[in-house]
């Protein structure tokens, strides 16, 4: 079997995995620096990191080195094996998301037929790691944080998947490349220059997806699982050193991956207006376009995070079950009717 580069299957897969292994930490660092350190600081009238590198750009690398030097501490009463495995499960869940993200006609690790369905499935694995961390820490704050996270992620996974369904119905495919193609070849009332980004027709789906993604990422206003004023840090309260670093990386990398999914499904993905869908040059330009769009979406996610106060637990559950799920079901029905009629 040979792939797009004309190499053997194993060689091509190793190259793609190598690229993915460089891209994921870089993406996490970039989001962490740009938004978590600098943007949050500016929004709070601070300067943020200044000293390490120009404009403090190397601050997170210095932080990572600091984390690696710290002592690896287990609480005495903890369940050691589960305690150690939990951050790995969370990180694996966010790494697996990157497998299907397309950034060009051939620039994708594996173009799975079930694309978006696979992404939803592996993103749901992170709850497992959070529950494991909360339980194994032998700490009541950690356990409460883990339970809150599980309740929240179960509630918001439904609207997330249902919001995606509208896009799938409109694009006729679960495959992420086919979803990009459907937007690239779509037309807005006969005007086909910029294709038909699904944010126009699926605007409600986009809103539901972004709100649910915010909850899945446990970002404010949905950050009860890690609420520091109530739970001193939630499920990762007992973690230090590189295990905490793994949780941190997973959080930021998942934010990046969800922004990328929103880009692919609602903002036209890597396609540039005016180019053929299969033009080889898009393998180079596509990732750049994707990155710009991802940063815009991630900006919205972090903007909301730094602006809104936290919801109460009952408000959060009510909002998911009584507002988002009925709305997303209505969205599916309307999309289905339009699909059959038009």
């Amino acid at each position: 079997m040979t792939g797009a580069l004309g190499l053997a299957y194993w060689a091509e897969t190793s190259i793609k995995l190598g690229v993915a292994l460089i891209v994921i930490p870089t993406a996490a660092l970039m989001l962490g620096y740009l938004f978590l350190l600098k943007m949050m600081a500016f929004m709070q009238s601070r300067l943020g990191p200044q000293d390490v590198g120009p404009y403090g750009t190397l601050q997170l690398i210095a932080d990572a080195v600091k984390f690696l030097q710290k002592e690896d501490i287990h609480p005495a009463a903890a369940d050691r094996r589960v305690f150690r495995a939990a951050p790995v499960v969370v990180l694996a869940s966010s790494f697996l998301l990157f497998v299907v993200l397309p950034t060009g006609p051939d620039a994708v690790v594996e173009n799975l037929d079930t694309g978006i369905f696979y992404a939803m499935a592996v993103s749901s694995l992170s709850v497992l790691g959070v529950l494991m961390a909360g339980w194994a820490s032998a700490n009541k704050y950690a356990l409460l944080g883990g339970l809150r996270a599980a309740g929240q992620l179960i509630a918001y996974e439904l609207p997330l998947i249902l919001a995606v369904m509208g896009v799938v119905i409109q694009a006729d495919s679960l495959n992420l490349q086919e979803i990009v193609r459907a937007q690239a070849e779509g037309e807005i009332f006969g005007f086909g220059l910029i294709g038909n980004p699904f944010i126009l027709t699926q605007f409600i789906g986009f809103l539901i997806f972004m709100i649910s993604a915010q909850a899945e990422l446990t970002q404010t206003p949905f950050d009860m699982p890690v609420a520091e004023t109530e739970l001193v840090g939630g499920f990762h309260v007992e973690y230090t050193g590189f295990r905490f670093l793994l949780f941190f990386m997973a959080e930021v990398a998942t934010a990046f991956a969800f922004s990328a999914l929103a880009t692919v499904m609602f903002l036209g993905g890597w396609w540039i207006p005016g180019f053929d869908f299969d033009a080889p040059v898009l393998n180079v330009l596509g990732p750049v376009v994707m990155l710009v769009k991802i940063l815009v979406v991630a900006f919205i996610i972090f903007w909301i995070r730094f602006t809104y106060p936290r919801l109460r637990e009952d408000q959060l559950q009510k909002f998911a079950w009584k507002v988002l799920i009925p709305l997303s079901l209505a969205n599916i029905v309307v999309t289905g009717i339009f699909k059959v009629v038009l």
Partner: protein, 164 residues
């Protein structure tokens, strides 16, 4: 096909080991986590059988939803760390008998139906569209029956949870 056979051997060994761990462990959360490993191993085997959609569904439904609810329920009630004295495994002969009976029936049914059939070796993946086409044409009646069953369960849950 050699690579697939080696992969099957490794996955099967992990799955069986996890299944044994699940029934012998003395901690209820460990048992649930071993069950996660078993279900993950089954999903990996579905991938080897080129049934990508089934594998993804297995991960989404069983690991992502059912097991999370299990763990949520266990931790919400009582889940001490370490050995649980009540979990003595005293009923293991009955459990072993019923597991053997169920395994025997399944193996007999599979051999009786499929015998020496083998998968096509040209590495084709069953496309999701083909799966949905057969669900909504050939298997439409079982599919609708299952939907009605789920609806009944849903209404039952609402009735049970109502307070008035």
């Amino acid at each position: 096909m050699v690579a697939q056979n080696i992969a099957f051997g490794i996955i099967a060994a992990i799955t069986v080991a996890a299944a044994l761990g699940m029934v012998t462990t003395r901690n209820i959360v460990h048992a649930a986590l071993f069950l996660v490993a078993v279900l993950g191993g089954l999903a990996a085997n579905y991938v080897l059988l080129t049934a990508e959609f089934i594998a993804t569904t297995q991960v989404l439904v069983y690991i992502g939803a059912v097991m999370v609810l299990f763990l949520f329920g266990i931790m919400l009630t009582r889940a001490p760390i370490g050995r649980i004295p009540q979990m003595t495994g005293a009923t293991w002969p009955v459990a072993a008998l019923s597991a053997l009976a169920l395994g025997g029936i399944t193996v007999y049914a599979l051999i009786d139906r499929f015998g020496t059939d083998s998968l096509a070796t040209d590495n084709t993946v069953f496309r999701t569209a083909d799966v949905s086409d057969s669900v909504f044409s050939q298997y439409i009646i079982p599919f609708e029956a299952v939907s009605v069953l789920l609806l009944a369960a849903l209404i039952g849950a609402v009735v049970l949870a109502r307070r008035d």
